[in-house]
Symmetry: C2
Subunit: 126 residues, 2 copies
C-alpha cells in the first residue's frame, strides 16, 4: 500500500466511531503520525494550525483506540475506526460535526420512501 500524501505531506483522515459509525472528526496525518498510529493503535494526527504532531487526547485524556484503518481507491484518504475514551471534539461534543446545515430533507418522509422502496423490491423479487 503506497499512501499518497499531498504536497504538504498530509493525508486527510475520517475518524469514525467503530460502534455507532458516527463521523467524529476530519483531520490530517503526516507520515510520522500515521506510523505512530499503526505502532500504538491510538490516534495520532498532525495539527495544521500548530504545525506539530498531535497525540489525540494526550492533554484531555480523550484518546482513541484504533480498531481498523482503510484507505480509499486512490490511496489518498483514510477512514480510521476508533473507540473513543471521551468526546472527539474540543468543544466537548461527541462529534465535531454538530452544526446542521440541512436536516432530514423532509425527515421521516425520506425514510418512509426508502422503506417503501425496499418493500416493493422484496415483493418484486418474491
Amino acid at each position: 500500500m503506497n499512501l499518497r500524501f499531498d504536497e504538504n505531506g498530509l493525508i486527510p483522515v475520517v475518524l469514525q466511531h467503530a460502534k455507532t459509525k458516527e463521523v467524529l472528526t476530519l483531520a490530517y496525518m503526516n507520515e510520522e503520525s500515521y506510523n505512530k498510529t499503526l505502532e500504538t493503535k491510538e490516534t495520532w494526527l498532525y495539527s495544521r494550525s500548530r504545525q506539530e504532531l498531535w497525540h489525540k487526547g494526550a492533554t484531555s485524556g480523550n484518546t482513541q483506540r484504533v480498531v481498523s484503518i482503510s484507505a480509499d481507491c486512490d490511496q489518498d484518504a483514510l477512514v480510521v475506526a476508533v473507540l473513543p475514551n471521551g468526546p472527539a471534539c474540543h468543544t466537548g461534543a461527541d462529534s465535531c460535526f454538530f452544526e446542521p446545515i440541512l436536516e432530514g430533507d423532509g425527515g421521516p418522509s425520506v425514510q418512509a420512501i426508502a422503506a417503501l422502496e425496499e418493500v416493493i423490491k422484496d415483493r418484486y423479487a418474491s
Copy 2:
C-alpha cells in the same frame, strides 16, 4: 453559517450512507457545487483532477440523494448523508474505502472488551 473554503476555494466533504452510516467517499466541494447540492438535494462535487464541477452520478446514473448536511466545529469540513442510487466508487465498490490497512485490532476481542465494559458500567450503575 460561514463555511471556510481553503486557499483553493475547496472544502472537504465526507459522503456517508444515510442508512448504513458507511463512509462512502472523501471528496471536495467548491462554493458552486455546495450551492448546487443545496438547491438540487443531489451530490455535486468539484473534481480536483479534472478541475471542474462534477454532478456525482451524472454519467453512471449513480446519483446520490442528499438527506442531511452538517458542518464541523471549525466550519471547514462537511458530512453529507446520502441515499445513493448505486455504488459510490468508480471501481464499482459501494464505498471507496475498500483497501484494508489494519483490520480489527484483534477483531472480536475488541468487541468483547467493549461489551464487557458496558456490562461492568451497567452493573456499577445499578
